[in-house]
Amino acid sequence: MATLDQVGIHLNSAESRSGRLLGLRMVLAFFSMLLLAPLSLAQQTKNSCLDCHSQLDPPLHASPDEYNASIHTQKGVTCVTCHGGDATSDDVDKSMGAAAGFKGHLDRKQIPGFCAKCHSDASYIRGFNPSLRTDQYAQYLTSVHGKLLAKGDTKVAVCIDCHGVHDIQAPNDPRARVYPLNVAQTCSTCHANAEYMKGYKIPTDEFALYNSSVHHAALVDQGDLSAPTCVTCHGSHGAAPPGVASVENVCSTCHVFQAQLFDSGPHKDAFTSLGVPGCITCHSNHGIQHPSDTFIGTAEGSVCVKCHSAGEPGFDAAAKMHESLARLDSAIGRSDAILNRAELSGMEVGEAKLAQSEARDDLIKARVSIHGVQTAKVDQDVQAGLAVAQKTYQAGLAAMAERSYRRTGLFISLGITLIVLAGLALLIRKLESGSGN
């Protein structure tokens, strides 16, 4: 091995001594780190609370997996933050002693205020997530849950009932109880329990109704996380049922055109004077089904006949609108049928099928227009759709005519082919009968 001298590094004696001292200091520092690191690591990970409580039975049991996976733990909010005490000591008296500030189990009534100590502190929360709201507690106090809790009813939901205790996840985490796919299930823990809800005089079939609804289908079957769940209409922290006057505002958050048309039509004032809510009077609230053209009209089962009887202008308008929608739907169906037959026969009808989607759009527009209850507007959309459906039907007829033309041509050519084949066979027979070949 080369010496420093040999490789051209020459130190004078003073440099050599200071160099050696520096080297010694570095070595000592390195070994100190090695020795002390396990200790400091132990200090950081030591959690006597979890060590004991993971061994206990419920209700004192705390799952290490849930605790370690929770967002609080990951952000450094530990047992001690909420419960006080000393998590570094295995001595029960020390770890759970008053001297260590041990608070123990919190009373349900205290929970919202306790959580708000952090979650309503904007400057504190900003350190974790600057865009996280800090008005949850303020909203909670305005909610039915918050008001009843203030009166002393501890059966109502508090923070931990919806968010969990040691297993809290961020709302956008699929494991969270408040993740959109899980919200209805979380609310139903109380609201679908008839025994638990006895005395509150509200129905307990909302969860079952919601599960049969188009909103549930959109959320769960189609995976549309923006589809409404309980909190969309009722609010989350400020949960309360929307009032009669405000139901339409809730629905119009998504169903904008329908709400605008409703507002411009005669139903708005009529509903207000009758004191009935918009939207849900016809469509229901929790168990909203996919509307069909039978909703509108004068047949039994339609929503119009709930208020309108024969001879009234409303009754006639309902009948006219239903007839318009049915006419367009039937025209589209007729075009579809002929285009499908043509396609199955091998005809190229791609362009006509593409144009057909325009007619379908017009039908959707007409079905939205009925919310304004103006027969002229509905008819305008229907006429546009009928024009397109007529064109596509003509295209279908043309395709079928072309199919017939081709098949006629084929049969004629097959006939000619058969004649030629017969002629050839006769020629062969004639040639071979003469020559004996």
Partner: protein
């Protein structure tokens, strides 16, 4: 001298017309219980001619670029007078031609028509078959619909599995790493220029060899005729056999017309290079047996990738099959029987795996 006689005289002075006619007039075709198989070669030739004729007509409207290929085929199918007929006959004709080419190959195999002196006829025929499959593969991409693009991706991926030259082959075929517009241009060039040129030359050679050596007689018939010379039967090629072939060609044309009218070749949806492969993507029927075999092979067989072994296996089998005339003994014996048995197995495997491929989900 009449006009026809003058013409004949003019041609004879320059090209030896009378000698050619004498050859044609005296050419005979053996007549026995397997004679119907003699039609297969002529049928394949007729269908090739049909492909050239319909292909030229399609060339008048087809545009070989990703932006226009699909639309030009759509235009042919919907706007061009009888475009639907020409396009469907071309597409169906391609499949029927490949079917008759494969049937012709197997009939030559089982009738042992590849024996001396017809070795080169077999070789040129095998090369023709590979070129015809190349026609099928290159032509399939040209409509530029979803199925054709993804089938080409799968097919060229398999070509890329060949050791040593695989990646180079893949780049050469695709004109790059992926199937793009460059692939379409390249395949179009192969389909309308390179392959037709090569096939025309080889067909010329193949026909020359057939004329040179005459029609082969199967060993069993040959043995019978040697023992009983009175049983030898022949017919004149022209006009007797040719008229019969003409009937067969008319029937084939009628079948193609019926297919075009009742089951026009579909247009599909325009290819989207960014979309994922549609579920259940599979190649055309003539490649199905290979595709299905590769699907069934495990990912690894010992230290070697299953796919690679499959591709190599087919390569070796193809090479052995091509060199068959040099492996089979003239005289019937054990080796001949083994080779016949291998042929039965090959046919059964081809048919069986094709059916399994279509039945599989």
């Amino acid at each position: 001298m009449g006009a026809a006689a003058s013409m004949r005289h003019w041609l004879d002075e320059r090209f030896g017309w009378n000698q050619l006619m004498a050859f044609v007039e005296h050419k005979t075709v053996p007549r026995h219980r397997f004679s119907y198989f003699y039609f297969l070669g002529g049928m394949t030739l007729f269908l090739f001619g049909l492909q050239v004729a319909t292909g030229i007509l399609l060339l008048l409207y087809y545009r070989p670029s990703p932006n226009e290929a699909f639309e030009s085929v759509q235009y042919i199918m919907t706007q061009v007078r009888f475009g639907w007929l020409i396009r469907s006959i071309h597409s169906w004709g391609a499949n029927v031609m490949i079917l008759t080419a494969i049937a012709h190959m197997f009939s030559v195999f089982f009738l042992k028509s590849y024996r001396k002196p017809r070795e080169l006829t077999w070789l040129s025929g095998m090369i023709l078959l590979f070129l015809v499959l190349g026609f099928g593969f290159s032509g399939y991409l040209l409509p530029w619909n979803t199925l054709s693009v993804f089938a080409t991706k799968v097919g060229t991926d398999i070509a890329g599995q060949v050791p040593v030259i695989g990646h180079w082959t893949l780049i050469f075929l695709r004109g790059g790493e992926d199937v793009t517009g460059a692939t379409l241009t390249r395949f179009f060039g192969f389909h309308v220029a390179v392959l037709p040129g090569l096939v025309t030359l080889l067909i010329g050679l193949h026909l020359l060899l057939v004329q040179r050596f005459g029609m082969s007689v199967p060993p069993s018939v040959e043995a019978d005729w040697r023992a009983n010379p009175a049983r030898v039967q022949e017919m004149r090629f022209f006009p007797n056999f040719f008229l019969r072939e003409l009937m067969a060609w008319y029937i084939a044309l009628a079948i193609l017309g019926a297919l075009a009218a009742f089951k026009p070749w579909e247009l599909g949806a325009k290819a989207d290079l960014f979309a994922s492969a549609p579920p259940g993507i599979r190649p055309e029927w003539y490649f199905m047996f290979m595709f299905q075999t590769l699907k069934l092979l495990p990912a690894k067989i010992g230290p070697v990738a299953g796919d690679l072994l499959g591709v190599l296996g087919f390569g070796i089998a193809g090479a052995v099959w091509t060199l068959l005339p040099f492996l089979d003994h003239e005289k019937p014996g054990r080796r001949s029987r083994w080779i016949a048995g291998a042929g039965v197995f090959a046919l059964a495997y081809f048919v069986g795996m094709t059916l399994v491929g279509y039945a599989a989900k």
